[in-house]
Amino acid sequence: MYIIPAVILLIVMGIALFRAFMGPTLYDRILAVNTFGTKTVLFIAVIDFLSGRAAFLDIAIVYALINFISVIGILRFFEYSSKTALEEEN
Amino acid sequence: MKHVLALSVLLSAFWLINSGHYTSLILFFMVVSVLFVAVLCHRMDVVDGESQPLELTFTIPVYWLWLIKEVTVANIAVTRCVWKGAHSISPSVIKVKANQKTDLGIVIYANSITLTPGTVSIDLEDNEITVHALTRETAEDLLTGEMDRRVCKVEP
């Protein structure tokens, strides 16, 4: 029964990657990468139940933390170079 | 002191949940690291009513229950918009006033707006929150000010 959520989450992650690839602005890409990250956390949690071992949940927690920190870090980085962020639009 | 104690209890609970090993050596490590972090935070002067809002402990669960209901309703509305397609949305930018007295209350209000699908708070100046709303209905929902009143009730 866990296989259906796992497959759908993979599809969702694929769509998020597609959006990250398409753009068009930098912020669309960051949003898509953030969505990809949160879905990865869910996917790890589902895989944990699918494999029947409660060993991956710690990884999911750490991944959630890293994902959040990295998004904030990237935003901080581009906050001070807003010119480059908008150049991508054209 | 009350806040340092609360922080230590919280950190110990976090350790116990994540460790899963309850031998005396590991528990000793827990005590040492919790004490270290608590002393460090105390020296950095970051442990106060703002990082440990203890007085919210009993009022906020009721608000959370209401917020879950609100998020569910908003989710269904946004889901309908997604499946109908891009022509069914009417994005707008509105400004709402936050009537909370403390900074913490305003942060709770702005975060609740963002958590509810259909509305995202994009800027906060003084007591005015700039909100991007997906449809006219979500914007009007926010303008009734019920969430504002409920957050006002939560804060001490």
Partner: protein
């Protein structure tokens, strides 16, 4: 009892997957960045909440339940903060949200409020 728990958990997992898929579809279909944040917010609240609650019902009492609760709490807090940070950074960098309807009207309504 066991069967009931299984059925409820299955419904939660499927509906959570549906909401996650909806959010992804919104990410593709919506016209500009600010509207796409709303779609991402659907996957983050409804998708994560329902799927993790469904898993929680299967976990039984113990550490696994506590860890799932921790993940849920953290993902809700982090997704709102990240969403707000992205929207604010986009606005500050000069990205203008597309609006279709009468802006002045809704602002008038707000200012008349106490």
């Amino acid at each position: 009892m066991e069967l009931l728990l299984d059925i409820v958990s299955w419904i939660l997992l499927i509906s959570g997957s549906f909401f996650a898929l909806t959010g992804a579809l919104g990410l593709l279909r919506f016209p500009d960045f600010f509207t796409r944040t709303h779609a991402a917010s659907v996957t983050d609240t409804a998708g994560a909440g329902l799927i993790l609650t469904g898993l929680m019902l299967q976990a039984g009492w113990g550490l696994v339940l506590a860890k799932l609760l921790l993940i849920l709490l953290f993902s809700l807090l982090a997704s709102t903060t990240a969403c707000h940070a992205m929207a604010k950074a986009a606005l500050k960098s000069g990205l203008k949200p597309q609006t279709v309807n009468d802006n002045s009207n809704s602002e008038k309504e707000t200012s008349s409020k106490p």
